[in-house]
Amino acid sequence: MELSKEIRGNKHMEGKKKLKSNIRRQKFKRNLPLHFMLIPGVVLVFVYNYLPMAGIIMAFQDFRVTRGIFRSEWVGLEQFRYLFSLPNTSQVIYNTVFIAGMKIILGLAVPIIFALLINEIRSRGYLRFIQTIVYLPHFLSWVILGGIFVTILSPSTGIVNQILNWMGFESRYFLGDNTLFPWTLIITDTWKTFGYSSIIYMAALASVDTTLYESIAIDGGGKIRQLIHITLPGIAPIIFVMAILSLGNILNAGFDQVFNLYSPRVYASGDIIDTLVYRLGLEQAQYSLSTAVGLFKSLISFVLISISYYLAENYGDYQIF
């Protein structure tokens, strides 16, 4: 990044072209050991991330293990056509985008607010205590949490509904009601992840220059003004990065969670692409269909990441690369 800035700085100085290439050569020489150190990583990424991409052609084949990639029959877009010919595909895509979208929004907002709040705590012991408590759910798998949530959300015996009853509300069937189910997914997921995701914002908050707070205090700015003018601009780059990265997950609504909590009764509102494909693939090893779905999801994510990166660069004046 530094190099490119330097080059940009010299952009209009035609006469210094030669100097520029000299600098580049010198820099390359100086960084040669670093380039060598990169090689193992690049090779690993190439072998394990790029080479397997050739497998994408399976999405356009009727892949059979006995025939392998090279001899399986070509079917063009048949797998995609099949996926979109299913009567409930549009509903499933809507469910996926809705659940994943809400998870992304809450997954950004809640950790930021939490980090801002916890940043004001002065007692170190108390801070540690709170942090440990909120990190904990992150380390539990959905298989375990699924069982716990089925129990505590039960309309008859679950503690949540008992509290609701005590406050004068009716019992709700959170896991069996098509209007409540997506929100149950979203809120339980946010509960599970917000503590752990707040770590990165706390790190960003710690790096905000404290002298700025002193000067705004001298200028008479209160807590709210500090927040708007110092804290938020200070951690904005991190928020942008996190937002861009999470947009790639717009079609990942969380297979583990949904699979452990859903049932035929809430297929209408809770069935997501991954669970649908899981059920379709269950009958037989349908590698091609899974690949096609994977490709479809990757394409959408790629487009979204590109757009958000473009927006961030142009309007947020922020670059990752």
């Binding site: 006995t66 299913l86 069996g176 049932s263 009764r265 059920r279 009958e283 037989q284 349908q286």
Partner: protein, 547 residues
């Protein structure tokens, strides 16, 4: 996956009880077993003649695939290369090695897929219908016609020929045999109603005669809030059409069947979309409205349903013949349970739906050195399964076999013999005395004679009041219904079935819970036909015309 595992674990339970069926294995310890003294009785020429029990000299090595899942019932010191079966094989000059191992059935399928892809197949292995088709098309299967005709012993033939000849046509292509179908046992798979006898006594109610009585008992238990804990009539599970679930048992009882093919005017029709299904669902809906069906079944699996029963929340459980194992914790808490048949209102017999379709086959790799060795192994199993190698000294069943071909449906037989013994005081004659019988009876009597609760589940299965009594009732009264379609899954099935299943489960749940009116069923039927159902029906009938 949940379903698959559940059925699998039930199957393994069945294996544990009878010692037969399935492909099973034991502890994988890597060591080359020292070949036992091979009786060298034959000279070189005799192996050329087809001798079903011919000894290989020099000994041969046969590679095989194995499912290591039943490891839990294998004794610790046993390994795949050192166990009574391997010793028996060695006597006949065969050393079996297991280069392909799966940690469970699903994993084994994946491993075999992998072996297919790399071309590194073992000599003998088991395949799914899809794998069979692919291997056949790729010409990777050995033609077994000749070795089957020449080497199969008379004893083994009795076992192998248990398979429905119609099913056998799946592995016979142009008159040549490319595999051996696994016999499928389903006799045990009938609905069994477990009822809290202590509550029944407390309310001075009689044991149920028909399904109507079962509902009445559930109503009485719930209305009287038995033990202060009973608040559920009858529990269901979230996947209504899974095998051996209460919902499927009840539907069968009301004459509705899920996804089997029935003959109607020369055509095959699918049972899911028949009016009988609509009526049966409407029936369940009315009980749901009354509050007799657990309103939370939508988020419960079978394990949770059983927990409710053990916790005293329900006193009527509709499940299967293994129920006593699941109920045992309740027995330890002092609950008394009895087991009953699910009889339709008109007093006829519930036809329990079962699948006896082409689910798997034993095949030999094309180019295997000794294809006849696979048949010889079956001969050995037929001769020795009821003898030493199948049961170890400590009474555990030895599963270290590359595949298990055996006598089907031993549980009903054990029950029958035991009933005879209780009546006449005579055990079955020694010739029929299969070792599993003694093993089972020992555990049954652990409870009935010594009062040891550890033997309760076996007693409650095989004893006079046991669940096998219900199985016997179904056997005597033809209480089973099978699909008329016995072919391999068609293209349309592998394509559309999963989705059709989800649609059907959703529809059934909506109708039972009252989310949609009963007439929603008609919309479903149209949707079912449009979403591939018609295609499958066509394929199935095409197959049917060829039969």
């Amino acid at each position: 996956m949940k379903t698959k595992n559940r059925i699998l674990s039930l199957l393994i339970m069945a294996v544990f009880l009878t010692g037969i069926i399935g492909m099973v294995g034991c502890t994988p310890v890597e060591e080359t077993g020292t070949p036992a003294d091979t009786p060298t009785t034959t000279d070189d020429e005799t192996t050329v003649e087809a001798d079903p029990f011919g000894v290989y000299d020099p000994p041969i090595t046969l590679t095989a695939a194995i499912n290591e899942d039943p490891i839990r019932v294998a004794p610790e010191e046993m390994s795949l290369s050192d166990n009574p079966w391997q010793e028996k094989f060695n006597e006949y000059g065969i050393t079996v090695e297991y280069p392909v191992r799966g940690s469970n059935q699903e994993d084994l399928e994946t491993k075999i897929n992998l072996a297919i892809a790399t071309g590194d197949l073992p000599d003998v292995f088991t395949v799914t219908p899809a794998q069979f088709q692919e291997l056949l098309e790729a010409d990777m299967l050995e033609d077994l016609t000749d070795v089957y005709d020449n080497y199969l012993s008379d004893e083994a033939a009795i076992w192998v020929e248990q398979v429905d000849p119609e099913l056998d046509t799946n592995v016979i292509v142009d008159g040549r045999r490319y595999g051996l179908i696994y016999p499928i046992q389903y006799d045990d798979f009938v609905p069994v109603v477990s009822i809290r006898q202590d509550w029944l006594d407390e309310l001075e109610l009689d044991a149920p005669e028909t399904v109507e009585d079962v509902w009445e008992i559930a109503r009485a238990f719930k209305d009287n809030n038995m033990d202060g804990t009973c608040d559920i009539g009858i529990g269901l599970t979230m996947n209504l059409f899974d095998m051996l679930t209460p919902s499927l048992g009840l539907l069968n009882c009301y004459g509705a069947y899920y996804d089997i093919w029935m003959e109607d005017g020369g055509e095959l029709i699918n049972s899911t979309i028949q009016p009988g299904m609509k009526n049966a669902l409407a029936k369940l809906r009315s009980y749901f409205e009354e509050g007799l069906i657990d309103p939370e079944f939508g988020s419960k699996d079978a394990a949770r349903m059983m927990e409710d029963a053990i916790a005293g929340r329900s006193g009527v459980v509709i499940s299967h013949f293994i129920a006593p194992f699941e109920i045992a914790p309740g027995k330890n808490l002092g609950q008394e349970w009895t087991y009953h048949t699910l009889v339709p209102e008109d007093g006829s017999v519930t036809k329990a739906q079962n699948t006896a379709t082409f689910t798997g086959a034993l095949v030999v790799r094309k180019g295997a050195q000794n294809p006849e060795a696979a048949i010889k192994l079956i001969n050995l199993f037929a001769r020795y399964t009821n003898a030493e190698p199948s049961i170890n000294d400590d009474g555990k069943i030895n599963f270290c076999q590359p595949f298990v071909f055996g006598e089907m449906n031993q549980n009903p037989k054990i029950h029958k013999y035991y009933m005879q013994y209780l009546e006449t005081g005579e055990h079955p004659p020694e010739t029929e005395g299969f070792s599993v019988y003694w093993n089972t009876i020992e555990q049954v009597e652990m409870y009935s004679v010594d009062g040891n609760l550890e033997g309760y589940p076996m007693w409650a299965i095989f004893g006079p009041e046991g669940t096998e009594r219900v199985v016997a009732y179904h056997l005597e009264n033809d209480g089973y219904i099978l699909s008329e379609y016995t072919g391999a899954p068609t293209d349309g099935m592998s394509r559309y079935n999963a989705n059709l299943r989800s649609m059907a489960e959703q529809m059934a749940t909506y109708i039972i819970t009252g989310d949609r009116p009963v007439d929603y069923f008609d919309d479903f039927v149209e949707e079912w036909k449009r979403s591939g159902g018609d295609t499958i029906t066509e394929e199935v009938n095409e197959w049917y015309r060829d039969q």
